[in-house]
């Protein structure tokens, strides 16, 4: 599904966070949003999923305008937001967290199959089904957060800093999984601080600076863009 943001403006209590952001994610693409802290990356995702209501502009999923929908309504359209900081259900088991991911689905057999699939994809989760999510390590929690989002069978997946605080090896694994999810036809919008990894899996990227799009282009272009190299890739 195609996701389109047109001239989005949003803020928190009078402080503007986004000033006219336009982003397009075409069906089957991985698009990365890069930028420094406070550039508006997470706010962009929150506007799309309905957690933050924009003060101007419009968001379209295919041809449907979705910027007036509430979070659970966008989730039911197949737009799944895997938010910053994992936000697991800490006192529920790994299995219950996965089941919650599939909350809006009606196909019991399919859900059961997908639980098997997730525990195969992330083998650490398989042995810990009955364990409380809050007792998992940081890396395992990130895997579970991703698995829970996938349990919803998303058409568009919004990922907010999936690599945050993870060891390099786990980051590799997360990004390998993201690439695999895309091969299954899921459209992905990825917010990352880790510009290296993000531009490796992404088709295109947007660089946000204080609430507006500073640079945009193909991933290859961005990797060689002087401003991007200087600010996010640490010289070359």
């Amino acid at each position: 599904m195609t996701l389109r943001l047109e001239n989005i403006e949003a803020g928190y209590g009078g402080i503007a966070a986004l000033r006219g952001v336009s982003i397009e994610v075409r069906a089957g693409e991985i698009v990365a949003i890069l930028g420094a802290n406070g550039a508006g990356k997470s706010t962009t995702l929150k506007v799309i999923s309905g957690l933050v209501r924009p003060s101007g502009g419009a968001v379209y999923l295919e041809d449907r305008r979705i910027d007036r929908l509430r979070p659970y309504e966008t989730a039911r359209l197949g737009l799944v937001h895997c938010p910053e900081g994992r936000r697991l259900f800490a006192n529920m088991t790994v299995l219950e967290n996965l089941e919650m991911g599939a909350y809006q689905r009606g196909d019991k057999a399919g859900v059961k199959r997908d639980i098997e699939k997730m525990t195969g994809l992330f083998d650490v989760l398989g042995s810990r089904r009955a364990q409380l999510a809050g007792t998992l390590s940081g890396g395992e929690q990130q895997m579970l957060a991703l698995a829970r989002a996938l349990m919803a069978r998303p058409k568009v997946l919004l990922l907010d800093e999936p690599s945050l605080g993870l060891a390099p090896m786990l980051i590799e694994q997360i990004f390998a999984t993201i690439a695999q999810i895309r091969r299954e036809g899921v459209t992905i919008l990825l917010v990352e601080q880790n510009a290296h990894m993000a531009l490796e899996v992404a088709d295109r990227g947007y660089v946000l600076e204080t609430g507006h799009v500073a640079v945009t282009g193909d991933a290859d272009e961005l990797r060689n863009h002087p401003a991007v190299i200087e600010a996010y890739l640490g010289g070359a």
Binding site: L88, F89, M92, Y103, T135
Partner: protein
């Protein structure tokens, strides 16, 4: 013999009333994580709606059989409390944590205040059923009193049973999982497609309706209610029962209600003198001490969020195997 029966049946019915109150508050507070300090308010609304229906219908048509009056009373009580729950819940469920607690506390104070000034239900003095008891007869008649007590024991068991079954079934459905997820993280629930406001409202209204059921049971049993009986301390008492038993544990609630009801009743009879002068209500100190100790030793409540049969010790005792309970 008669005194003993009267005492035991009195305790039994009142424990049933508190059980319905504590179980329904556990749904609101323990499962959904909505911190309500106004449960006695819904209890009062139920007691007064039910009583008013029964008393005024009886006045309008003295020939209406008691059972029919009582059924109408239950409907009026649960419906009234649910409606008030909806009205209170719509604006205040947008609040979280401490703010919801304060809003619900304010609500229960308002209820008592309104009742104190509502002449049609007796105002600050009591709202008596007069000679009207169910089954028919007058309370000064021994046989009628026994029948009255026995009827209310049966009704109490039915009310507790219904309440337990309904909450248990909700817990073990996909709705129950959605409700539990609200307690954990509302934003994440919404991201999973859970209509957060709808579920909070549903839980709040259902809990209020059951508090209303406890109200009508209490009213027809005591046959004389006054606003003072539903004051703020009652809300705290119900909350204590829930927290002590364990947020999210129904069997824990049963244990806590029985203990917290019976211990003061037993201690009330005893007398303590310090330096020759009697100390009034000395047991309140002991009661407070027990509560403080318990919160230090078992901050998650007696059973945490487990049920009795999920606890390892009990399982071993009964030689049960299989999947263990969740760690609290």
């Amino acid at each position: 013999m008669e005194a003993l029966f009267s005492r035991l049946s009195n305790d039994f019915v009142l424990i049933c009333v508190y059980l319905v109150l504590a179980l329904s508050l556990n749904l609101i507070n323990g499962y959904a994580g909505l911190f309500s300090l106004g449960h006695a308010g819904f209890w009062a609304v139920g007691a007064y709606c039910g009583s008013a229906f029964i008393i005024y219908s009886h006045q309008a048509g003295p020939g209406i059989p008691g059972a029919l009056l009582f059924c109408g009373g239950i409907t009026a009580a649960m419906g009234g409390a649910a409606l008030v729950g909806l009205i209170v819940g719509l604006p205040s469920l947008r609040l979280q944590g401490d703010y919801l607690a304060i809003a619900s506390l304010g609500f229960s104070l308002i209820v008592v205040n309104i009742l104190n000034n509502l002449a049609v239900v007796g105002g600050a003095s009591s709202f008596p059923f007069g000679g009207l008891v169910w089954p028919d007869g007058a309370l000064y008649d021994l046989k009628a009193r026994v029948a009255h007590n026995l009827t209310h024991i049966v009704l109490g068991v039915l009310a507790v049973g219904t309440c337990t079954l309904v909450i248990r079934n909700i817990r073990h459905s996909s709705h129950g999982r959605a409700i539990l997820s609200l307690r954990e993280d509302e934003v994440a629930s919404a991201m999973c497609g859970v209509n957060v406001v709808k579920y909070k409202l549903l839980v709040f209204v259902l809990g209020a309706a059951f508090a209303g059921l406890a109200g009508v049971l209490y009213a027809t049993y005591t046959t004389r209610i006054a606003p003072e009986a539903f004051n703020f301390m009652e809300s705290v008492k119900i909350l204590l029962m829930v927290v002590l038993g364990g947020l999210g544990s129904l069997s824990g609630t049963f244990i806590a209600v029985i203990v917290l009801y019976e211990v003061p009743e037993l201690l009330r009879m005893s007398h303590v003198t310090i330096a020759g002068s009697p100390v009034a209500d000395w047991w309140v100190m002991l009661y407070a001490l027990v509560l403080v100790m318990l919160m230090i030793l078992r901050p998650q409540g007696l059973l945490g969020s487990k049920e009795l049969f999920e606890c390892a010790g009990i399982r071993r005792l009964f030689g049960m195997a299989g999947r263990g309970g969740r760690e609290a």
